[in-house]
């Protein structure tokens, strides 16, 4: 092997990634150079068991495995990767945290690290290293990663969740593009419904899509579950205004959205049943992969901005964490660092085809966002996101309130007319108080 220093390699590979991605051998070369000079020295004979969620996008998964293979070959650390259904990750991690045995590293959705922060390896040095090297973390990434002054997990990426719409149907309704404000959305949705192209967003217990849009709707009008001091503040005029808006919007939805879970809108949209919905890029990715005609007509848009005048989006973060029962904390740190170094991370972002958004500012110029303009909005998911604990801090209460679907239920109650916006907000307040009690 030639005598590269890490910086040399980095420079070369950044140039490379602009054009073509690293091939297998060059990835390995880089990995070996990195291993010789790596910031965290794995323990002798280190072995890691990692757990991740089952892929939604195949190419992403393949690249993830390739990156792991490069890490294994370069460092000699054994890594065994298990893959489980997304919804099973949190229960498994919870059990591991509780019994003090199981996978060393877990990668999964949302804020589960904040359910058991004291069971996790302190990742502050990893976060500082990566943040220093790649332009710093986006604020929401820092919120998700940190508990008090300590990093408890590393936000690997964010799964963007945006408006998916059929361009032709939106234009038929008299709009050039998807409206940028909440009033515009109401008009568009009503018109599309009239034309038989109604849209819809999930109001069932859909942990991804349902949580994302209902939080957006409440936040857009200035409502929030708690204030800056973690005092429950959901029963406010702003929330009620938001709920009234949703109730009006719901009248223009396609029927049945109250039963929708995360997968329903994908099916409905791909079959042409609905003209717009909210989702990750997976609908479009599937349309492209399967060569469907609909792909050319799919566009993505930011969530409209409400009366508060700024983006109020919720996107699902995917952090990873190492449990402190691991015998090889340094190997875990090295592993997590390696996967976020430019050659690996660039290749992986590329293969994620827009499904994941970077959490480090330095990756903003990645070609994945420019080579297909339809991916463009997903680039800003991390930058525009608010944390699920907004406006308070993340912790047990925020994570539990989210898992208990307090906001989703509140919005669904008001939307379907099962309760008036006032009653729905009052009920949510009572439920939230159970978690935010002192």
């Amino acid at each position: 092997m030639t005598d590269f220093t890490r910086r040399d390699v980095l420079r070369t590979t950044t140039a490379l990634t602009a054009g073509a991605m690293l091939t297998g051998t060059s990835l390995l070369d880089w990995a070996k150079a990195w291993a010789a000079d790596m910031p965290f020295k794995p323990e002798d004979g280190a072995k890691l068991r990692a757990l991740r969620w089952n892929r939604f996008v195949e190419s992403e998964d393949v690249q993830f495995d390739a990156n792991i293979k490069a890490f294994i070959e370069a460092t000699g650390v054994e890594v065994r990767l298990d893959k489980e259904w997304l919804d099973d990750i949190q229960p498994k991690a919870a059990v591991a945290a509780n019994v003090g045995a199981g996978p060393d590293v877990v990668w999964g959705p949302l804020a589960m690290a904040h359910l058991f922060p004291e069971k996790l390896v302190d990742m502050t040095d990893v976060a500082d290293y990566l943040g220093g090297k790649y332009g710093g973390w986006f604020p929401v990434a820092e919120t998700y990663g940190k508990r008090d002054d300590r990093w408890i997990c590393i936000p690997l990426c964010v799964g963007g969740n945006y408006i998916n719409y059929r361009k032709s149907m939106v234009q038929a309704a008299g709009f050039d593009e998807f409206p940028a404000d909440t009033d515009g959305l109401l008009k568009l949705s009503a018109e599309m419904n009239k034309q038989g192209n109604a849209g819809g967003m999930a109001l069932g217990h859909a942990s991804g899509d349902g949580n994302a849009w209902t939080h957006w709707a409440v936040w857009a009008f200035g409502g929030r579950l708690v204030d800056e001091n973690n005092k429950v503040a959901v029963n406010s005029p702003e929330t009620i205004q938001g709920l009234e808006y949703v109730r009006e919007l719901y009248q223009t939805f396609t029927p049945g959205t109250a039963s929708w879970l995360d997968g329903h809108n994908n099916k409905a949209f791909l079959s042409g049943e609905v003209g717009w919905t909210n989702n990750g890029i997976s609908i479009y990715a599937k349309a492209v992969r399967d060569g469907m005609d609909i792909a050319a007509d799919i566009e993505h848009a930011y969530y409209p901005v409400g009366p508060v005048g700024r983006p109020t989006e919720m996107h699902v973060p995917f952090p990873w964490m190492a449990f402190n029962y691991t015998k090889y904390p340094n190997a875990a740190k090295a592993f997590m660092t390696f996967m976020m170094e430019a050659p690996q991370y660039n290749a992986w972002l590329q293969e994620s085809v827009g499904y994941f958004t970077h959490t480090l500012k330095g990756y903003a110029d990645h070609p994945v966002w420019t080579e297909d303009p339809k991916r463009r909005v997903f680039k800003d998911a991390t930058e525009r996101a608010l944390s699920i604990g907004h406006a308070g801090t993340l912790g047990y209460a925020a994570a539990s309130a989210l898992a208990d679907f307090i906001i989703v239920d509140m919005v669904a109650e008001a939307a379907t007319g099962q309760a008036s916006p006032k009653d729905a907000a009052a009920r949510a307040e009572k439920r939230a108080n159970r978690y935010y009690r002192v």
Partner: protein, 316 residues
């Protein structure tokens, strides 16, 4: 003159005792039962006890709790979602169990008749029970889909409805839909077990009744039903327990939605304990199920098992 036995007793009393003990049925019985008892203790009593203990603590995932007495239960008593789940659980259990019993019994009687391809038909009847729950739940997920439901599609094509049926989006529809799925899944168990019971009833009883001029209804009322009560008791106990503690069907189909209309105590317990991290509260919801379950068991054992041999005595 001393017998041989007496002499041996004098010579080696200790050895003699050991022989007696070794041949004692109770002593042996104890050792034979030990593995089973250890199994029960380890896999049933311990988790149950731990669950009950957790319900009196504020344990969260990853953090040990302290004893807080009845606080979890006091909180739950004030929680409308919990009471909704209790209501749903009862509705689900009662409606599903009654219908499963009625249809299962009917099916068992039908299957008990002589007919061509008897074995084959009986095997087919078991299918819903054999298919993994999650698979059948996913099938129902499609059947009940608002946009793609085959039922809505067929009815629309037949011109009977103009709008798709909102199976899982409207609270009462959703309840009816999940109950139907549970019934579909549970009938084979009831039917096949009762069929086994039916086949143990001696044909001579029916012959005698026929000679006495009994009607079919009288034969059912005075022979089939009384002969079958022990089996019915067992089947219904299990059926009620399975239904009351159902989790998979609901979780795969609705996650307890819409707006908690189909949340059962089991699914709410999982949501609060594992997803929400509040192990203590989740355990309290599970513990709250125990009195109801005990009640159901008591009812079927003491209410339905009237014959003495069923309660450990000799029959009349």
């Amino acid at each position: 003159m001393a017998t041989i036995a007496e002499r041996e007793e004098v010579a080696a009393p200790a050895a003699w005792h050991w022989t007696r003990v070794r041949n004692n049925r109770n002593f042996l019985g104890f050792w034979f039962m030990l593995p089973a008892a250890a199994f029960l203790l380890l896999f049933l009593t311990y988790p149950l006890g731990l669950g009950i203990w957790l319900s009196f603590t504020d344990t969260r995932i990853g953090r040990d709790g302290v004893f807080i007495g009845l606080e979890n239960f006091v909180w739950l008593a004030d929680d409308p979602v919990f009471w909704l789940s209790v209501f749903n659980t009862f509705l689900y259990t009662i409606v599903a169990s009654v219908i499963k019993f009625a249809l299962g019994f009917y099916l068992a009687i039908l299957l008990n008749n002589h007919m061509p391809f008897k074995a084959f038909i009986r095997a087919i009847v078991l299918l819903p029970f054999i298919v993994p729950t999650v698979l059948s739940a996913i099938a129902f997920w499609w059947i009940y889909d608002t946009q793609f439901s085959i039922i809505s599609w067929s009815l629309t094509k037949l011109g009977l409805i103009t709008e798709n049926i909102n199976f899982l989006g409207e609270p009462n529809n959703a309840r009816a839909s999940v109950i139907f799925a549970n019934i579909w899944r549970g009938i084979p168990f009831v039917a096949i077990t009762l069929l086994a019971g039916l086949q143990t009833i001696p044909a001579s009883l029916y012959e005698a009744a026929t000679i006495d001029g009994a009607s079919r209804w009288q034969m059912f009322r005075h022979i089939t039903y009384p002969m079958l009560t022990p089996i019915i008791a067992v089947v219904m106990t299990f059926s009620v327990l399975f239904t009351f503690t159902d989790f998979q069907l609901i979780y795969a189909m609705t996650r307890g939605g819409p707006i908690n209309a189909t949340h059962l105590m089991a699914t709410l317990s999982f949501q609060r304990a594992i997803l929400g991290g509040n192990l203590g509260e989740g355990a309290a919801i599970s513990t709250a199920m125990i009195p109801f379950l005990l009640g159901a068991i008591m009812f079927s054992w003491f209410g339905l098992q009237k014959r003495k041999w069923q309660q450990g005595e000799a029959d009349d």
